[in-house]
Symmetry: C2
Subunit: 81 residues, 2 copies
């Protein structure tokens, strides 16, 4: 079954406390990282991955999955192998 | 600066209550979805995206970012445009 992926990330200008915490933890473990941002990833199984479905997934993302005031999202279609 | 992305998803055999809740909410909003899984997405900025760094990011993911008992992860290098 085809799968549509929605990636939701905090907008670049928004403070991301989860990302800051993860960056701190990684540094304490000895990993040199410049910056970390934490977001969400949704894998949505759909009947068909046609244009209409992708448009519907955009609607889902802007209605429910992402808060557009503080988050950006991207939609990708993943064809099954 | 190059960016390495770590995608963390619940293993297929593990119950994903967040995904189930999102699926229910999407259905109540009138979206026909078969299944939803919710995971995490980390964007990690690094100095260089060479093989050594990617190996270190695999270490980070299995040490801190993912719980390998219940989650799988994937690492992807995103070159800046």
């Amino acid at each position: 079954m085809p799968r549509v992926v929605v990636e939701v990330m905090p907008k670049p200008e928004i403070l991301d406390p989860q990302g800051v915490a993860v960056r701190g933890a990684l540094r304490r473990l000895g990993f040199a990282v410049t910056d970390v941002r934490q977001g969400k990833r949704f894998e949505i199984e759909v009947e068909r991955a046609d244009e209409e479905t992708v448009a519907r997934v955009h609607e889902m993302a802007s209605t429910l999955l992402a808060n557009l005031v503080i988050e950006d999202f991207a939609v990708r279609v993943e064809e099954p192998a």
